[in-house]
């Protein structure tokens, strides 16, 4: 039996620090297309809102692309807090509402999440970083919206739009 390797892995990486509630997180800078305010968000049509996909409540239209907005409180199972910034993810149709962003820093080490953590956090996080004596989880951008969640949301929104346009045509 060997001990878990806690040695640093990977090279230096630029990350964006952000906060949700009382917690601080990091996300790879190259996973974020844009940090913006929360203007321009639209509510998901009622037909697209389901308990299973409760963390998605809004959409953002940007450059002819629709993003589904993730409430990070619900994603991380936290109490509600005041979101003021939106992280628009790159190579994804997800954008993430967070309380605020801090700054971009470079981390040199990514520690594996200890094996004792066996819950959803294994999907949420790529690992842990030590930043100024604080342990900060580095989020896995892909965990904010799975391919199947995207497919369901896309279909639900498309279905609602089809119903609307049919209704407008018959009116």
């Amino acid at each position: 039996m060997k001990r878990v390797d806690k040695k640093p892995r990977g090279k230096h990486e630029a990350v964006i620090l952000f906060a949700v509630g009382e917690y601080r997180f990091a996300i790879a800078a190259n996973a974020v297309e844009e940090i913006r305010n929360t203007q321009g968000l639209q509510s998901l049509p009622p037909g697209a809102v389901t308990p299973r996909l409760a963390k998605f409540r809004q959409t953002l239209e940007r450059d002819h692309k629709r993003y589904f907005v993730v409430d990070s409180n619900l994603h991380f199972r936290l109490f509600p807090s005041k979101a003021t910034r939106l992280l628009v993810l790159r190579e994804s149709n997800a954008a993430v509402l967070v309380d605020h962003t801090d700054r971009i820093i470079e981390i040199g080490q990514l520690h594996a999440l200890p094996r004792a953590f066996q819950g959803e956090e294994r999907q949420w996080y790529r690992g842990l970083a030590m930043i100024e004596d604080r342990v900060v989880p580095v989020v896995n951008p892909a965990a904010f919206m799975s391919r199947s969640e995207f497919t369901v949301l896309q279909a639900a929104v498309a279905g609602t739009e089809t119903t609307k346009s049919k209704g407008a045509a018959t009116a």
């Binding site: 001990r3 878990v4 991380f76 004792a116 953590f117 819950g119 842990l128 004596d133």
Partner: protein
Amino acid sequence: MSAHPNSFVLFPIGKKRFALPAGSVTELARPDREQSFPHTSKLLTGVLVRRGHIIPVCDVAPVLVGPDAPVRKFFLIATRKFADASEWTAIPVTGECELTNAELLPPAGKLPRYVIGLLSLENEIVEVVDLERLIGSEVAA
């Protein structure tokens, strides 16, 4: 720490003391700054940073003595075994720990499955617990 089969670390949780085989205990740590981040794993309350290692904190007191366990002040750092590796885990305890040598007696009566034996000390009977079973019993619940 000695891995002698009859060597145990006694740790207090409230008024009661429990024991772990000394071979599984790495260190007795002073109060340290526990840090937390969102997760959904039962019993885990956060992590400690010790000599560059990030160590998960697993609070077993509610399982051992119930929800009214007093404030935990120290950490017992033990080794947990996983399928392909082992890993340190910090167990919060309420007071100082003690190393003792005693014969491990088989568990008697109706005891939880995580009690792997008993130590008959001068004025007390101490339950020796298996960390994996103890944590597993709660995680599976």
